[in-house]
Symmetry: C2
Subunit: 267 residues, 2 copies
């Protein structure tokens, strides 16, 4: 049981986990270095706790005390009660969802660990957009993907916007980094996976509809716009295509991922 304490000074060191949340560049460096991430809103905070993340502290406005009462009753983490205006001054934005939690990161598993027992994995290259990354995790969870593997230059799935867009799916879908890239794709192949590169152009081996016939499939997706790099395409076993209407250049990467995740599980 934590006793909420009122904080009235934006410079209070107890609020330091929550400062400058709109400064993406700063937070991208700070959060992994300090071993924390920010969960925003009741649902996401509850999902982070349910996934076993430890809470460092919570920042609330008064009207969320009741809603979060059971969480407060069960945590030893400090709970900071602030006025909405102070929340905005500290974080840099109007906190619509009224509740923020600073959570402790867990050590990332290795690629070998997340591949163990998996049959359907997504491999993402160069996904730097947090919204797209979060959307892909949300689809991966809903459509039964077992894990996500990330190239070293992909964005951080625990960055606030990715967490929010994923609806907390970044907590439930196991993920790991593949480093060095793309050489470590060999380890995915050695684990028994067929590496399928999703690409709208170039020579294609088959449409995505046939991917569900494979015992173990790794679906490789590149960033919006450029898609997979030539070296990633070269490292794949096959190129896979979503049939598209005449004259259209591409789908949004989140839409392409959703279709591929559906097709690799259901044909």
């Amino acid at each position: 049981m934590s006793e909420p304490s009122t904080v009235t000074d934006a410079a209070d060191p107890r609020l330091s986990d929550y400062t400058d949340l709109t400064d993406v560049e700063l937070r991208r460096r700070r959060e992994p270095a300090e071993g924390l991430f920010i969960a925003e809103g009741e649902k996401v905070i509850r999902r982070a706790l349910a996934a076993g993340f430890r809470m460092r502290s919570m920042l609330l406005t008064a009207k969320w005390l009741g809603v979060m009462g059971d969480v407060i009753a069960e945590t030893d983490a400090p709970v900071h009660l602030v006025e909405p205006a102070l929340a905005e001054r500290v974080t840099g934005y109007h906190v619509h969802r009224g509740a923020l939690a600073s959570m402790e990161r867990k050590p990332l598993p290795s690629a070998a660990e997340v591949l163990d027992g998996a049959r359907r994995v997504a491999v993402l290259e160069g996904l730097v957009d947090h919204t797209n990354l979060g959307a892909i995790f949300r689809s991966a969870a809903a459509l039964g993907m077992d894990a996500v593997l990330l190239s070293p230059d992909c964005a951080d799935p625990l960055y606030r916007r990715a967490v929010k867009t994923s609806m907390g799916a970044v907590f439930s879908v196991p993920y790991a980094r593949l480093d060095p890239w793309p050489d470590s794709l060999a380890a995915v192949r050695e684990a028994g996976f067929e590496l399928l590169a999703l690409t709208p152009s170039g020579a294609e081996d088959f449409t995505v509809a046939k991917s569900h016939l494979l015992d173990k499939a790794a679906l490789m997706l590149g960033a919006e716009g450029d898609g997979l790099t030539p070296k990633a395409l070269a490292a794949a076993d096959q190129r896979v295509r979503i049939p598209m209407a005449h004259g259209i250049d591409s789908l949004n990467v989140g839409a392409a991922a959703a279709i591929a995740f559906y097709a690799v599980n259901h044909g």
Copy 2:
């Protein structure tokens, strides 16, 4: 051939089509009332012109004069040359894409007109989010949907953000309003379409994979969160389900639409 003229005053009436672009509420009322919409960025402007929309005027910063040179050579519409700071003062935001065009709306076709000859249509209810709406149009174009029908409370596909997210697909995919709602769904059925309501919960008739067997299919999708209303569900012929992993409540509506559009065309 239009001769670009330099404008230096934010209050110049020649710029009035471009004022307060960040005020969504205002622009939502103003643009349909004045018969205009805003196309943003080179690609989208070119696609609007290619789709036969008439240009009212264009607003450019100097570095875009070259890129848009051929467009300027072919138009009679006035071209307003402004400094980046003035563009920001007029529109309310930093215009990254450097080129805006005010385009003239065309009269919307009737539902009967867009259904004529169509075999695959999307029916959207209560889609008020411009990003989701634009993403759905983009997927509809890429995945070969013939038309989109909108409930009266759906957002405007020609609102700037929807246009941008759609990558201009709102210009190429025919759409119409269905009014009164949901009674006018009867006209879709009378045109030979099976009305398939996409819903994650409740009694389901079949998974989306079987929808490609239908001669004419209308895929009904509701808004993020609440989904289709009970009255829309009641008006459908069948309920259709995307198979989802255990314990996940739903997909993002854009992801669900992409999967449904894919499945209704390819199984």
